[in-house]
């Protein structure tokens, strides 16, 4: 049986709380004392067990959050058969109307006027002066950034000219993808809402550009690169919030 002092020393040793002198003495003793080695290994195993229980508790908590999130997504009304059938009928009507509209207007090259859903932090709806640049026609769309402005990027389907959230094209959060691994991004804050990515940060004297990077739609802030989405048929808009 080990003395209480030794037990306290073991606890302090494992918690890196021994003074340099005490640590040196403890390590010397540890090197030659098999019983002490076993005691240290035992205490470490018990601590690992405690951590394991802590992690299990956290996972139970996360599971609870998950269930709550899922139940919020699917309410009984939406899961009923009647509702599903109504939804299918509505989808069919919508598809039919869309097809009609497409055959009448689909090949015109007018300025796009449809916008993504509005939210408090998004830009106002584009008007006739809004400048849309074709992703396919240009390698790079560059905007000289100004400090403390909000930047919004919208992606549209080139052919149908409908905001891509309606076509379920996704934009990733800005993660640096320079093909040498992921590094930390300099974007201080962003909001991702449907297909709209709002960038907030001190972008003073920065160049913000959107362009094709080996088949990936990329966002570049100065010399840092962020992957957005692989999307070959898209138009991109970069606007500065007033």
């Amino acid at each position: 049986m080990l003395s209480e002092n030794i037990e306290i020393d073991i606890t302090k040793y494992l918690a890196n709380e021994l003074s340099p002198t005490a640590l040196k003495a403890f390590k010397e003793k540890l090197a030659n004392d098999t019983a002490l080695q076993k005691a240290v290994a035992f205490e470490q195993m018990v601590i690992d067990g405690i951590k394991q229980v802590g992690e299990q508790d956290l996972r139970v908590k996360l599971e609870g959050f998950h269930k709550e999130m899922n139940s919020a997504k699917v309410s009984p009304l939406f899961s009923s058969t009647g509702f599903k059938m109504a939804l299918m009928a509505a989808s069919f009507l919508l598809l039919f109307s869309f097809s009609l509209w497409f055959f009448n207007n689909g090949f015109e090259t007018d300025i796009i006027t449809k916008n993504t859903p509005a939210e408090n932090n998004t830009l106002p709806k584009p008007d006739e002066f809004t400048r849309y640049l074709s992703y396919a026609d240009s390698d790079s769309i560059t905007s000289k950034a100004v400090a403390n402005k909000v930047y919004e990027i919208e992606v549209f389907d080139k052919r149908t000219k409908i905001a891509v959230d309606q076509l379920t094209v996704k934009i990733y959060n800005p993660v640096e993808t320079n093909y040498r691994g992921i590094e930390i991004t300099p974007v201080y804050h962003y909001i991702y809402f449907n297909c709209v990515l709002n960038l907030y940060g001190l972008f003073e004297q920065c160049n913000i550009s959107v362009y094709d990077d080996a088949g990936y739609l990329s966002l570049k802030i100065d010399d840092r690169l962020y992957g957005i989405e692989e999307a070959p048929e898209l138009q991109v808009l970069v606007r500065v919030r007033e």
Binding site: E7, I8, T11, F42, E43, M45, V46, I47, D48, G49, I50, K51, Q52, V53, G54, E55, Q56, D57, L58, R59, K61, L62, E63, F65, H66, E68, M69, K170, Y172, N173, P174, V175, I182, I184, T185, V187, Y188, H189, Y190, I191, Y192
Partner: protein
């Protein structure tokens, strides 16, 4: 059992505030962050040959990694939470995909004998580890909360004292020592019983 005042969380809540709340074990902040970033990981995994079930497992693993990092006193977030979670999840997912490929190659190349020896050793270690977790569950509260708060959540003694209604940090520290002694004793006893069982099998 919250240590801090309730804060209303919404999209306007700053990331620094969220991190600070999570560091102080605020469940509402934990839930808010968990639910906020789920879709982003889901999109990535589903697009990269994963299933819905994969998404949940992967996201929770990534979240646990993030939580552990957050609890390290010297850890500083230099990116947004979403970016951090995404990069962890992406790395975990790529590793998982790689491991699945490697496994099929390795099964044939490892000798049967070494696998058997390794399995016996691992089983014994796993059993001892299981005993430690089982005995902690049996101890129950306040010891379980006290020890997990200290060793897993790395909560400061002052905060543990508040949480468990001890008069001060020293009182909590003394109680932690007692709990640890009780746990070690229980684990040791159970290990002896198991050793006896193993040798008689």
């Amino acid at each position: 059992m919250k240590l801090n005042k309730t804060v209303e969380l919404n999209t306007g809540t700053s990331e620094d505030e969220l991190i600070s709340l999570m560091r102080n074990n605020d469940d509402a902040a934990l839930k808010f962050v968990y639910q906020k970033h789920y879709n982003m990981i889901e999109q990535y995994v589903l697009k990269n040959s994963g299933s819905k079930e994969d998404v949940k497992d992967l996201y929770q693993d990534a979240f646990v990694v993030f939580y552990h990092k957050l609890k390290q006193p010297d850890f500083k977030m230099s990116s947004s939470i979403g970016t951090y979670l995404f990069s962890v999840a992406k790395n975990l997912w790529l590793k998982r995909l790689r491991d699945n490929k490697v496994k099929t190659v390795h099964i044939d190349s490892v000798s049967e004998m070494s696998t058997k020896e390794k399995t016996i050793d691992e089983n014994k270690q796993n059993r001892e580890f299981e005993i430690a977790t089982e005995e902690l569950q049996k101890l129950g509260d306040p010891c379980k909360t006290l020890l997990t708060e200290f060793y897993y959540k790395q909560t400061k003694m002052e905060a543990i004292a508040k949480l468990l209604n001890y008069t001060n940090a020293n009182r909590a520290k003394a109680q932690k020592y007692k709990c640890m002694q009780r746990l070690k004793k229980a684990v040791f006893k159970q290990m002896q019983v198991n050793r006896f069982t193993w040798t008689n099998e």
